[in-house]
């Protein structure tokens, strides 16, 4: 019963290869799962099933052990949802919208609401219709969090926010993580997923490509060290030092090696006594790691990872 959010073999085919196909993942209590994928990959479709808006054609989606379609009302007592597209009801101003949502949630936590309004610097006296996209977004964020739910479904939460507010938001989510919230966060932005998530599920064309532990991925990343030598003897000696070669250019007396964090001392002892002309380091980021999944095996079959 440690799995709060559970998606098993979720399939919903909208035709023309669109939809989600056999998607399975779980989010454990207190965990933040990043749901990463390009536009149209099926992130919002999966969220819609978790919210009980759609029924799966096959497979199961449950939250807290309850079927998302059959027990929507009960599940929603514990869930905060931030929709991917902001379409607020018209004819209200910010304060009225907040009041309406408080009424429908049957919770009234004025202290927390005030804290959120201050944190996201939101003026609630403006009619919703006149708000900019960013302000609407912030209002949606405030209403999603104001009843202090244990489970959060956030669909591309930072889209539409300016960089400053994105930072505020990321800090805020870190706070919520500290407070033990279970979070599913969809995004197409690597950096925010990298900054926030414990595990990352990558979805592409409606199918899960891989689910990885963020810590492991970070650890598994390596640096490419390129060293340029003054003479050929040193170059040869370096190449034979047992480090993993990734490139060699005899004309310019250059050599590149792949260095994992734990190999860094071996690398330093290998270059210590050699005459070096130049040196450069290139870190492989999480982003490059994911670009690999994005670009690989497109429908065209081309591999574009350089």
């Amino acid at each position: 019963m440690n799995d709060i959010i559970k998606v098993s073999n979720l399939t919903h085919d909208y035709g023309h290869g669109r939809g989600v196909f056999d998607v399975s993942f779980t989010v454990k209590k207190g965990e933040t799962l990043g749901f990463l994928g390009p536009n149209g990959a099926g992130k919002s479709t999966t969220m819609r099933h978790l919210m009980g808006f759609s029924s799966p054609q096959s497979g199961n989606v449950s939250i807290n052990g309850l079927d998302c379609r059959k027990s929507t009302g009960r599940i929603m007592e514990k869930v905060g949802y931030l929709p991917g597209e902001v379409a607020l009801p018209d004819g209200l101003n910010g304060r009225e919208f907040i009041k309406m949502m408080q009424g429908m949630h049957k919770t009234k936590n004025d202290e927390r609401t005030a804290y959120l309004l201050k944190k996201f610097r939101l003026d609630t006296d403006v009619p919703v219709r006149k708000m900019s996209i960013g302000e609407k977004r912030k209002l949606a964020v405030v209403t999603a969090f104001m009843s202090d739910p244990d489970i959060l479904l956030l669909d591309e939460p930072t889209s539409g926010l300016d960089p400053l507010m994105q930072e505020v938001f990321i800090d805020f989510i870190k706070e919520e993580k500290q407070r033990g919230k279970t979070i599913l966060l969809s995004s197409h932005i690597f950096s925010e997923v990298e900054a926030l998530c414990d595990r990352i599920a990558i979805i592409k064309d409606g199918r899960l490509v891989s689910t990885v532990d963020a810590q492991e991925v970070r650890h598994g990343l390596h640096n490419i060290m390129t060293v340029e030598f003054k003479d050929k003897d040193d170059l040869l000696q370096f190449c034979n030092s047992g480090l993993e070669l990734s490139g060699r250019d005899d004309k310019h007396l250059r050599c590149s090696v792949k260095v994992y964090d734990e190999d860094i001392n071996a690398f330093i002892s290998a270059v210590k006594c050699l005459k070096i002309k130049g040196f450069s380091e290139h870190s492989v980021t999480l982003e490059e790691y994911f670009m690999h999944f994005y670009k690989k095996d497109r429908a065209t079959g081309g591999v574009c990872y350089a």
């Binding site: 819609r48 919210m51 009980g52 808006f53 759609s54 029924s55 929507t72 009302g73 009960r74 929603m76 007592e77 869930v79 905060g80 949802y81 929709p83 597209e85 379409a87 607020l88 009801p89 018209d90 004819g91 209200l92 009225e96 009041k99 309406m100 949502m101 408080q102 009424g103 429908m104 949630h105 049957k106 949606a140 209403t143 999603a144």
Partner: protein, 252 residues
């Protein structure tokens, strides 16, 4: 079953439309029942057409706003992200729609009762020479009750389309066609009953046929029997709207 915050939001967001339709209907009623120039047309024009046209426009616009348009725009996602069930949403919205109509007719009826008590209108003025005496308060209430039931049935059909379709385009299109045909056929049928040959057949094309003010004026019970049909239509249509809306996939 009923969500008060949602009801409040529905009242607020439909207040302008409800207020203007109620206002226009009440003012027209006062005019037709008090001014000498128009008194003779109180039944042919006002009770014959206005009590279906004005509420018809109101329910057409409002029923769509209560469900389909909120799904179409996406704002329904906020309502359904709270512990409120879909069945509570449809019940609350249907409750609003029916009761806003009841209130609309209550205000209009109240105004007519006041005017009629100050200066009663005789059947002779209405061109009904075979009847003796004046229009009574009881008749006014009965006529409006008969009209209200038909308007509730119209509202239920529009609400059904609003619950079935997730796009305003289809909900308004079909509701509009249904209300438009009902009202238009009713007008043509009325000209038929006034003596235009062949037009009386149109009464079979409209649910407004179940609204029978003649029967009230002639003090028979036809109008009460005829109320069964709009009530049945309303129950069925609200039921279908509610079931489909609760079961379907919402593109939110």
């Amino acid at each position: 079953m009923l969500s008060l915050p949602l009801l409040k939001q529905s009242i607020k967001s439909n207040a302008v439309m409800w207020g203007s339709m109620t206002g226009v209907m009440t003012l027209l009623c006062i005019q037709f029942s008090s001014l000498d120039m128009t008194r003779s047309l109180l039944f042919t024009i006002f009770y014959g057409m206005m009590t279906t046209i004005l509420p018809g426009i109101y329910v057409l616009v409002t029923a769509n706003k209560l469900l389909a348009s909120q799904v179409d725009r996406g704002s329904m996602a906020y309502v359904l992200s709270t512990p409120i069930k879909r069945s509570t949403v449809t019940f609350t919205q249907a409750f609003y729609l029916v009761n806003s109509l009841v209130l609309m007719f209550a205000i209009q009826t109240g105004a007519h009762l006041i005017v009629n008590n100050i200066s009663p209108i005789s059947f002779a003025t209405l061109g009904l020479n075979m009847l003796k005496g004046d229009l009574t308060s009881k008749m006014i209430i009965q006529v409006n009750l008969s009209a209200l039931m038909v308007c509730i049935a119209l509202a239920a059909v529009c609400f059904m389309f609003s619950g079935v379709f997730s796009s305003s385009k289809y909900a308004v299109g079909l509701s509009g066609a249904f209300t438009g045909v009902s009202i238009l056929a009713n007008m043509l049928a009325m000209f038929g009953s006034l003596g235009v040959e062949g037009l009386d057949k149109f009464k079979y094309l409209t649910i407004c046929t179940f609204y029978d003010y003649q029967s009230v004026l002639f003090s028979d019970s036809d109008w009460m029997v005829k109320m069964i049909f709009p009530i049945a239509i309303a129950v069925i249509a609200f039921g279908i709207g509610e079931i489909v809306f609760s079961k379907k996939d919402l593109p939110l």
